[in-house]
């Protein structure tokens, strides 16, 4: 059924909710799901759609519970496909809440189901999520293995946006591991996939990852241009997280260029954006950059405060190794 302007409309709110979730319109999805008959709300599909919408709206605890209920119901019904999807969302809830052990268990189960069901796209998502868990825990080699699997899976189903995302993740891990040439290669793959996806947001994220790698390779002049372009793309495409990341990378480049005042301004802007969108990982990373910056210019009191804030944020996400590293820096190690 189509409205006069050609936009499809749906009299069945469950179907409309499903469409809205798939289209990424989560507030609308929430509205449609609330219109669903109360009896149907106990169905696993309603629970799963509600969990997906809640996660995207930042309501992680609710999302996790709804997804777990959906998972249990799908399991009882013997619907492995539904169980896999619900397991993945439940694990994503655990991940966002900092329960990395539970997140890893959930993503692992979802990956095993996706593998059994030969669902390439879900293999990619689960592997990418497991890569993120390993990265948070500073386990770089397994993280890269998962990102490799994710990239292969996304490539197989021609899912360029997600492929670009998994290469961005690989770039970050390779750079942090000190393998700068491989990081540059991964960044190039991320940019190529983002270009094929025609998605300005992921292009901006790929450019930010590329810029930080370029800076690590010592070409600060080029890194500046890449970071500026990343920031412009994030702003143009209303991607606050991308904006925060591009500003953080600019801070790193300006610090390396001997421009501490500019670096501090950029870090503070990045922090404000990351706090506004409630993204604790970016908050932690920006605080760490601020700590490094203050240390470099001899403001040890400010550095200590920044490292403590970073440690606290990492702790909240279950990233204990990284929190410990921040505390060590607090002590001047």
């Amino acid at each position: 059924m189509n409205a006069p302007n050609g936009t499809p409309t749906y009299s069945d709110p469950l179907r409309a909710g499903r469409r809205a979730v798939l289209a990424g319109e989560f507030l609308e999805a929430r509205g449609e799901l609330e219109r669903v008959d109360p009896e149907l709300r106990a169905s696993p599909e309603w629970q799963l759609l509600s969990a997906m919408a809640s996660w995207r709206l930042g309501e992680f605890a609710h999302s996790r519970i709804a997804a777990m209920q959906a998972r249990d119901q799908y399991r009882t019904l013997g619907d492995a496909d539904g169980e896999m999807r619900a397991e993945n969302v439940a694990a994503a809830g655990a991940f966002a809440l900092g329960d990395l052990a539970d997140a890893e268990r959930g993503f692992s189960r979802a990956l095993a189901l996706a593998d059994r069901l030969a669902d390439e796209l879900m293999v990619g998502h689960c592997a990418n999520n497991l890569g993120n868990v390993a990265y948070y825990l500073a386990r770089y080699a397994p993280a890269l293995g998962y990102y490799r699997l994710a990239s292969a899976s996304f490539d197989n189903v021609a899912s360029w946006k997600w492929l670009a995302g998994s290469w961005v993740n690989s770039t970050i891990v390779l750079r942090e591991s000190g393998d700068l040439e491989s990081a540059r290669d991964a960044a190039e793959r991320a940019l190529a996939a983002a270009q094929r996806a025609g998605d300005g947001r992921i292009m901006g994220q790929a450019l930010a990852a590329c810029a930080e790698t370029t800076a690590a390779l010592g070409d600060l002049e080029l890194a500046h241009v890449q970071a500026d372009r990343a920031l412009a793309l994030a702003t143009e495409h209303h991607d606050p997280l991308g904006e925060a990341e591009a500003l953080r990378v600019s801070c790193v480049i300006d610090r390396a260029s001997g421009e501490p005042d500019r670096a501090e301004q950029e870090a503070k802007r990045a922090l404000a954006v990351a706090e506004r969108v409630r993204h604790p990982w970016t908050v932690a990373e920006v605080q760490r950059e601020l700590g490094d910056l203050y240390t470099a210019v001899g403001r040890s009191g400010d550095a200590k405060q920044a490292y403590q804030a970073a440690a606290q944020a990492f702790d909240g996400m279950g990233a204990a190794t990284r929190a410990t590293e921040m505390r060590a820096r607090t002590n001047g190690d």
Binding site: E104, L222, A256
Partner: protein, 443 residues
């Protein structure tokens, strides 16, 4: 405008007719009915050939369906493996026996719909075939002869190919072209750089592992061989494979079966291998670093990619190609190559080959005024150390050089002594001693 996605159905029988509407509604796509000689609409993610009871007729029809690049899924009632194999041989992308395989069919369709939604366009029909070697730009004799040889291999998808070439010459591009231009096109192409994987993890990366197979195996994980099933596995820098794993790779190639690390059952894999190396593998065999039997197994056809310095005018045509494609990436006007830039390109030896040239063009494009490509930006200046670090003194005493290196590393790592020590390859205590020595010398 967003294209309406659809599942197209050719109904040879009325069995399971209700299922098509249900599936379309569930996936939120249109359901379109086709005659056997109709081409699918632009938004079709798959063509279902519904053959319950008409399986033999479906097999005859399969090669004649004008599906373009859209996969044809044959759906019947015969739960026979042999029939499924026949269907695939006749051109079906997959076979499903209903009602037992209904869930599997649903997942397959859902994956295609989701993939199409994510990339904002349907999965087919695909664009008309283009030259698979189009990305390997150049007219030099050395490149042309390699590509001529590669074209002759294209139809033979079981032939293993070994590509030789220096780093950055485009080995992966050539491997992908062999895949895209051959019978396995449309199936997975999985590239793995053996040099980038720690040797202790290589086996689990290639063959996968079961949960608990080793300390870090928190979850079961399929390997890249499984990911490449029915397609091509590109093993770049195969010379980096540890010797014990070379034997396992050889067995996998011979038996067409793999076993995950920690697993008990073997899995069938149909994978074409294209391998590459920048080192002389035959010499590695002579040194006992590479298994002779594996070398002969992978070296069925050998292709050599020439280094850029031996490709003459290709340097300029490649530079123009990159300037055009990268300008499109960054939404910049395509810059012309002026005489100064051309001279700079010709006057450099490009030890990093095509990859280095590409980076150089990208750098110059981003740093030059829009619509220009300034030669001064082509090659990064050697003094890439961050400002404020100061140069490492020379000539100088060893102590002075050590102190300067420590200070440079500290600046680079924001005074993080542990990180600076790691970079310098010394202990943190030693770094502290070098700093203390410097402090003592201050007036």
């Amino acid at each position: 405008m967003t294209l309406q996605l659809a599942v197209a159905v050719i109904e040879l029988s009325e069995s399971f007719r209700a299922a098509w509407d249900d599936l379309a509604a569930e996936l939120d796509v249109e359901r379109v009915t086709l005659a056997p000689d109709d081409a699918p609409p632009a938004g079709a993610v798959a063509v279902i050939l519904a053959a319950g009871g008409e399986e033999d007729r479906a097999l005859d029809l399969l090669p004649t369906i004008p599906a373009g690049g859209t996969p044809v899924l044959l759906v019947g009632a015969a739960a026979s493996h042999r029939f499924g194999v026949q269907a695939l041989k006749q051109g079906a992308a997959d076979y499903f026996a209903l009602p037992a395989d209904l869930d599997m069919l649903r997942r397959t369709l859902r994956a295609r719909v989701e993939a199409a939604r994510e990339r904002g366009r349907p999965s087919g029909p695909v664009a008309p075939p283009t030259d698979p070697f189009a990305e390997l730009t150049g007219q030099s004799e050395s490149l042309r002869s390699t590509l001529d040889a590669a074209r002759r291999v294209l139809p033979h998808d079981q032939v293993t190919v070994l590509i030789h070439g220096e780093t950055g010459t485009g080995k992966e591009l050539l491997a992908r072209a062999l895949h895209e231009g051959g019978p396995r096109s449309g199936e997975p192409f999985v590239a793995v750089n053996c040099a980038a994987i720690p040797s202790e993890l290589m086996e689990s990366e290639l063959f996968g592992h079961e949960r608990g197979a080793f300390t870090d195996a928190h979850a079961a994980k399929p390997g890249l061989f499984e990911e490449a099933h029915r397609g091509t596995l590109f093993l770049d820098e195969i010379g980096h494979l540890p010797l014990p794993l070379q034997g396992k790779l050889l067995r996998a190639l011979e038996d067409r079966r793999i076993r995950r690390v920690g697993g008990t059952r073997s899995r069938e894999v149909d994978v074409r291998i294209v391998a590459a190396s920048h080192v002389d593998l035959e010499a590695a065999v002579g040194r006992g670093e590479f298994r002779q039997d594996l070398f002969y197994r992978i070296n069925v056809v050998s292709l050599v990619l020439p280094p850029l310095r031996e490709r003459g005018d290709d340097i300029e045509s490649l530079a123009e190609h990159f300037a055009t494609t990268l300008a499109e990436r960054y939404s910049l006007p395509v810059p012309p190559l002026d005489d100064t830039t051309r001279a700079a390109l010709r006057g450099y030896t490009w030890p990093g080959n095509v990859r280095e040239l590409r980076h150089a063009i990208e750098r110059a494009l981003l740093l030059s005024a829009p619509g220009t490509l300034e030669a001064q930006h082509l090659i990064p200046r050697p003094s890439a150390s961050p400002k404020g670090t100061g140069p490492i003194p020379y000539p100088a005493t060893l102590e002075e050089i050590q102190t300067a290196a420590v200070k440079a590393a500290l600046v680079q790592h924001a005074d993080n002594k542990s990180a600076a020590a790691r970079q310098l390859g010394i202990s943190r205590a030693r770094l502290q001693r070098l700093l203390d020595r410097d402090d003592e010398e201050q007036p």
